[in-house]
């Protein structure tokens, strides 16, 4: 499997070099530096030289490189590197050159724990945080804890400690949807889908067994279309009532996949605290919260005219926040004059776009921006690639797919009652208009 993990900064300095096998030589760091970092024409994340394969991922300003010598599992290697990035972020807040330099001891320690002989071991942040900490665990003090920790690190319930107690048992469920839209310049929707995630924060005592129900057709079964429990929930969102077809869903490792496969029941023992319970994808009946009508005219070689209208498609009682429209401008833009009916627009030369911010966007309203960019002449006229217009926003109490949480039941030995909260949010994923 993995022969070594290396971390480089952008200059190609080797920040971390951890070999897991004998065949990972220091020389390989130079090879990578020469072949990938100082080679501006890198075109693939995988490079094989001789029998050595370098798989790299770039995050912030560092390169994370996995070295393999065999016909390794490429998907696993990359997924592992991303998991490592995730761990780094969980530990240091930001996983960049500075964080690595300041915490290199901890990084080594982490690597030692998550990889053994090049095989990934436990990479659960919560578990690792129990015994790899920034303060350092003194061996005498932590002895008793340690045996518990190790039990957990390998146990069937590697994600949960046994002795959790809360005075108030609460569970928060956040349904967060990222809408991806690709609309052609003519206004036809080329692609619209929703990547949703259900994030749960569980503050529950003991080892509670939870059952979770959604209004998707998968869990409801094809024939049973309108269950009565759905009505009340339908008020909560403005999306289409009824059931939703989820293309595909994936679950946190705590969910009993076997049970889901046979009985369509999402049943699990949650980890303590925040975790992502499931991810799903929906492509049918996507409610697009915003309609964008964009007219971009290139007039001659010196001027580009914009007229952008954004219309909110959701109920008038809802409002979206932090709506930002990014309107790309040609590289040789000299000056922008803009007018907006709402919000503020500003030209950002470093990103080559006009940023139009609308802090609060009430439903059913429509706002317009018109702008004019005057261009300077360039010595070599290069065609403008016309990148797509990009929209970002967040909208509470609305799900694009129409997904609703029908129930969340908690069963525990002590039979305590628990309070559950559900929140819906729709955000822009890749909301692009060509």
């Amino acid at each position: 499997m993995l022969s070594g993990i290396l971390i480089f900064n952008q200059k190609g300095e080797n920040l971390i070099f951890r070999a897991f096998r004998n065949d990972c030589r220091p020389r390989l760091a130079d090879v990578f530096r020469i072949q990938v970092i100082s080679n501006s024409q890198v075109r693939s994340p995988i490079l094989t030289l001789g029998s050595t394969t370098f798989s790299h991922v770039k995050h912030e300003n560092i390169y994370l490189v996995a070295i393999t010598k065999s016909n390794a599992n490429a998907a696993l290697v990359f997924e592992f590197l991303y998991r490592f990035v995730g761990l780094g972020k969980a530990y240091f807040g930001k996983f960049d050159e500075e964080a690595v330099k300041n915490n290199f001891v901890l990084v080594y320690e982490l690597l030692d724990e998550i990889l053994d002989f090049g095989y990934p071991q436990n990479t659960e942040t919560d578990t690792l945080k129990m015994y790899i900490t920034t303060e350092g665990v003194k061996s005498e003090r932590a002895m008793e804890d340690s045996s518990k920790i190790t039990m957990q690190a390998t146990g069937a319930l590697s994600w949960r400690r046994a002795d959790i107690k809360y005075r108030k048992n609460e569970a928060f469920v956040d349904v967060i949807e990222d809408v991806n839209l690709l609309m052609s310049a003519a206004g036809t929707v080329l692609r619209a889908d929703v990547n949703g995630q259900i994030v749960m924060r569980a503050y529950l005592s003991g080892t509670p067994e939870c059952k979770f129900g959604l209004n998707d057709r998968l869990t409801l079964g094809e024939d049973n279309l309108q269950p009565s429990g759905n009505r009340a929930g339908a008020k909560a969102t403005r999306a289409a009532a009824g059931s939703v077809t989820l293309e595909d869903c994936q679950f946190h490792q705590c969910v009993k996949l076997g049970k889901f496969d046979t009985d369509r029941i999402i049943s699990f023992i949650p980890p303590d605290g925040e975790f992502e319970l499931m991810r799903y994808r929906a492509t049918e009946n996507v409610n697009l919260p915003f309609k964008v009508h964009a007219i971009v005219n290139e007039i001659g070689k010196t001027k580009v005219e914009y007229s952008i209208a954004v219309r909110a498609n959701y109920g008038s009682k809802l409002f979206a926040t932090n709506v930002v429209v990014r309107i790309p401008t040609p590289l040789n833009t000299a000056r922008i004059t803009e007018r907006t009916s709402q919000g503020k627009a500003k030209y950002e030369p470093e990103h080559n776009n006009i940023v139009w911010k609308i802090p609060r966007f009430t439903g059913q309203s429509e706002y317009v921006l018109s702008a004019e960019a005057s261009l300077t002449s360039m010595t070599n006229q290069k065609a403008w690639s016309r990148p797509p217009l990009n929209l970002s926003f967040s909208l509470l109490m609305f799900t694009s797919s129409g997904l609703l949480v029908r129930y969340l039941k908690v069963f525990e030995k002590s039979n305590y009652s628990s309070v559950k909260w559900v929140r819906y949010m729709t955000r822009a994923g890749n909301y692009e208009i060509r």
């Binding site: 693939s44 995988i46 490429a74 061996s139 146990g155």
Partner: protein, 742 residues
Amino acid sequence: MAVSRIRGAFAVPRKGETFELRAGLVSQYAYERKEAIQKTIMSMTLGKDVSALFPDVLKNIATADLDQKKLVYLYLMNYAKSHPDLCILAVNTFVQDSEDPNPLIRALAIRTMGCIRVDKMVDYMEEPLRKTLRDESPYVRKTAALCVAKLFDLNPQMCLENGFLEQLQEMIGDPNPMVVANCVTALVEIQETAPETHAFKVTPTTLKKMLMALNECTEWGRVTILTTLADYKAADVKEAEHICERVSPQFQHVNPSVVLAAVKVVFLHMRYVSPELAKSYLKKMAPPLVTLVSSAPEVQYVALRNIDLLLQKQPDVLSKEMRVFFCKYNDPPYLKLQKLEIMVRIANDKNVDQLLAELKEYAMEVDMDFVRRAVKAIGQVAIKIESASEKCVNTLLDLINTKVNYVVQEAIVVIKDIFRRYPGYEGIIPTLCQCIDDLDEPNARGSLIWIVGEYAEKISNAGEILSGFVDGFAEEFTQTQLQILTAVVKLFLKKPDQSQGLVQKVFQAATAENDNPDIRDRAYVYWRLLSSDPQIAKSIVLSDKPPITSTIQSLPTALLEQLLTELSTLASVYHKPPEAFLGQGRFGAEAMQKAAIEEQQQNARENPIAAAAAAAVASGQAPPQTNMENLLDIDFDGSAPASLQKQPTSGESGLEGLAGTPQRVASPTGHAAPASTMDDLLGLFGDGGGGGMASNAPMSNDDIMNGFAGMNLGGANQPPPASQQLSGQTGQKSNQELLDLF
């Protein structure tokens, strides 16, 4: 400090970093020592040799501070080899630690011991390993399980003699799923390195154990178990069904590598179950595959390459999912190209309109490589789906009307293939002929000339067009020259009365005034044919061409079958068998040495190109930018440069030929990028328009590249172009020989 100063006076320099570190390491204050260890590790990472500090670092091994211990161990792992004798001093600590009440420390000790590759250490490993394998803590057991694999790597003899293998085999029945996973990992690794040990064999009992552990262990453990299951051949239909049933829930796992591994298991075992069941599994696997396309770009890339393989075996799995493969503006180039490939593969008459609109959009973008590939894709779709051919041709005509140089050129190359597939589009020839002056790439020029020659009887001014080319014959590229030659001969056979003079002129130019043997020989062949019997010449030169059925590249069946068993591995990303890019000795030093030599060779191989380019400049002849395209156009079958221009997919396969060399495997989809490297390289010397080809330098490049283009194993499935049959056959023959060598 005083102590260290005295020490320093005896052995080591008094100044410098090492001195300071040493002082810190032996300091009387714990925090200073720890800090010094940290600094030592830091220098180690930076590549400085701090092995001289070995004895001093070693002194800090016995500590209650777990952090410090880990650092010392890390240092030990790196430098044990430099001081094998001193390692013995650490043994005691290790053995003690392996009996520590704290399981974390026990595991740490056994984990590190396995990584210290010194014979003396190995001798002492037996006892601790035996104990930890039976440890009460699963955490220690799972660490010890992997340690057996480490020991086997170091000293197989000892591992076998002490019965560690049997112990591992027993431990597959361990109640803890993670221990099971690690045991399987270790055994599989041992089995791979030394098949004669029969370390790992799946029996009904182990199968059951693994299937049980599958649902409970960590995601990485699942990948291990799934990979093992994929390699296992089910004993009967029932077992295969059972495996599929137990594995398919893993499609819902959040980790893409687990999903891919599960897809692999089901895909391979599906062959044995009933067709209806197999169909339902295929249906079930489509959504998870699509979901993989929204993961991180690198993971996506692996997934896309694998989807490409799956589609070649089961073309209709994803036919409804065209939209997900639409390229996003921010996708890295390697993803975009791969997505195009897949879109063409899943195109059918239902989604073709959608696809064409999208492809047209791509063809308007500015990234040249991507645009070319999009134009090519339109051609592939036209040839794949008959009902869409007219729309495709219209789209291509629209694109030609944009007058963007590289779009026009690529479109013409593509249209030539469409002509070969479907008759009846001759009406657009005049439009094509209008752009004749814009074409500067040999491939595009060649294509247009081929069209003119092929349809000479329908083009009234064919003679006029060709005579223009004949006048500039000496300035053309080799492949264009060959095309001109053939086209003029065709014209002569079709309209003998009008082109007598032209054919004489071109023979004169190709024989007397040309030193290229390929061109000269072909000219002589034609000449003699024409002078002996024009009727025979007609039947040879104007013979029916074998029809093109598809211009989409597919792998040969045998290779595809092999690659399907390698899903989600590097082999599946490269679409090459693992032997093609991996050396033999996985762990040996020889392998390292070999790699170094190969690298050298690679450099040498790359240099001639630069050298040649430089030489061309020196001789005052700027090689035309596009010329380097030749170099990447070498195909599997048409290995002679003379027959290049007719390969519809040659742009791509050429690079794959390049990539197929064991010396260096470039990314398969990146084919366009290296082309631009070359372009850039040559672009430095100015774009020499229609510069002469007489210079030998670029030719020699071709020859070099030919050498390893033939090494590619990826199928020679393109029929040689008919117009090139004469020279094509020889090319193929020699290529066949090369393939035989493998």
